[in-house]
Symmetry: C2
Subunit: 396 residues, 2 copies
Amino acid sequence: MTSAPISSPAPLHADLLAQWMLREDVIFLNHGSFGAVPRTVLAEQDRWRHRLEAEPIELLGRRQPELIAAAKEPLGQFLHMRPQDFGLVTNATEGINAVLQSLRFSPGDELLTTNHVYNAVRQSMRHIATRQGASYREIPVATPVENGQRIARTIIDGLSDRTRLLVIDHITSPTALVFPVEPIAAACAARGVELLIDGAHAPGMLDLNVPATGATYYAGNLHKWACAPKGCAFLWVAPHRQADIHPCVISHNYGQGLAAEFVWQGTRDASAWLTLPAALQFMADLGWERIRYHNHALTVWAHAMLCERFAVSPLSPIDGQLLGATATVRLPDPLTHLTDDQAKALQQSLYTDHRIEVPLFGWQGAQHLRVSCQVYNRPADYHRLADVITAVARDL
Amino acid sequence: MTSAPISSPAPLHADLLAQWMLREDVIFLNHGSFGAVPRTVLAEQDRWRHRLEAEPIELLGRRQPELIAAAKEPLGQFLHMRPQDFGLVTNATEGINAVLQSLRFSPGDELLTTNHVYNAVRQSMRHIATRQGASYREIPVATPVENGQRIARTIIDGLSDRTRLLVIDHITSPTALVFPVEPIAAACAARGVELLIDGAHAPGMLDLNVPATGATYYAGNLHKWACAPKGCAFLWVAPHRQADIHPCVISHNYGQGLAAEFVWQGTRDASAWLTLPAALQFMADLGWERIRYHNHALTVWAHAMLCERFAVSPLSPIDGQLLGATATVRLPDPLTHLTDDQAKALQQSLYTDHRIEVPLFGWQGAQHLRVSCQVYNRPADYHRLADVITAVARDL
């Protein structure tokens, strides 16, 4: 395999890492798992928490609806969602659970997803299917994949007459592929199948118009690529399905409509939600177009460079047409043959001994790593990763 | 009605309010709704948040199980729970929803509670009953109540042959009564009825041994009377029922046992949970026995004083035998006849114009208020409340 002549992008600013809370002695290549928050955004959350604690009933009680509405407004503009069509939740998995627990399935109904599904969502789907006497199935989408059309065709061909709900990732977690959601949504609509998109990694990584995806339900995290504080996510529901969807925690506002129900899910620290506008503004000040260009270009470059250094085939085209701001690369021999426990130990060693944070995991019987590319990352980070991994592989 | 010669307790320390985050120009008589956090506890949460943001994967990923275990340990000791028998959740309502959503009811099964149920729990129970074709019923426990035996008798007599699950409050929200849970639990056990105790207000207010209540399920908040940061609560489940109970958010650890499942409920800010030991230590340093004695004595005194000043009959014996650290008192004429909207406006005015935070709400067709008594409260707070309320009533 020969890599294309791909170059890395120029950084947006000189020292962006210093604007994040991350340890500066660690090469942090895992923005994708839990995100990371800029210092000014955490400071804004601290201010909110102090305000909430000074006047808890006034703010969390009497003024909560208006405060949540104000927090939702810039998010709605950012992702083209009307305020009445979405609610804030703790994480995308919670949004997905809210949908799955709200739906009613009959024996014979099929809950369908792909083998790239996030494991927590797999567990949720299996639980609901078992509980309601429905069935659960995964469509195998083989890697390497050629292009998006091929992915869409495989998934659409995988629908059956019994499929009641299809769950697909917008960006897959283990394989870091951007799935072509629009043609899949169109096929689902034509066949009367509801589509739940797990957009855990999409907001801020992709130029996203949630309703335009054609999904029936869309859950996304804001603490990942929108850099909000942890515990900030949303669930969007198509208007014709809103009456049937409730939060995981049913509370006072039950039956008052989707937006009202999600405003109150029991007493909680609402500061992450209330800080969302500050996070979106921080990123907007850097420039969303520039951020997405930088992160994608860095990803395409890092992906190609790592495939070459590891002498492995890519899971998707080397031109990066299926990548966003994350890329999964097979580990070089012999590391790719490690057991899961050995890979876990290696991941800990990368952090403890080499100060590199990068996730390792098995995919189709071989160990892989996944790199994230956020604005604070630099090409040298990935060169260092390649150096350490190849040295470890050599010395094994 | 003549009040008993009840005196108010001496404060534990000179200026405890300054140790809390609450505005010092507000008389805060509503610890019961969302709790309030001491400054040093919030500072500890800030430290946790900074640590988590500096090493998100190391702490929230690889070390999360051990960190949660460490946070649970002092709570388990405090409430006599084994670590394997409980998990941390965001609030008691979430714990209750987890139980309700995990159980399976058949047509004909009855979900039973009392008319003192917290409205969010009422909504959850109705939702689950409707969805599963079961029925929902509330036992009327009339006020005024004479004693705990009478409450227990009324509830036990209210069980039917169809009752599958009884939900009772340990301390009721609208009426602030301590329900006698042990005899009720014994009767449920004898009749094969599962008992879910909503202990939202109990931890820290009562000297609580959770397993000794005899409940099948027990949910409690820690951000109320244990003064943990908001978003900190627990769900305890009797060992023989643990295999069937799952968190509201099913995730990676599904099927690995109660404690493991609750350790991971999707990405979230775990700092409130991790700060729990500091909150428990803060209160332990004040002395739990002294706190409970002070808060109860202040409640019994304030309850009697307000009933006398308002010239209203108490909902429970004036000796305070059914009170913990909160008390509900009927508003004086003509305020007790306000509509709900008028009462809402009066509550806002009490805050905005008189700097008093106290909840007003209807109970059995009459408007009431509920006072909370935490260590930072002083007798003068309740005198001022009585002065303002009687003045407003006079000028209406």
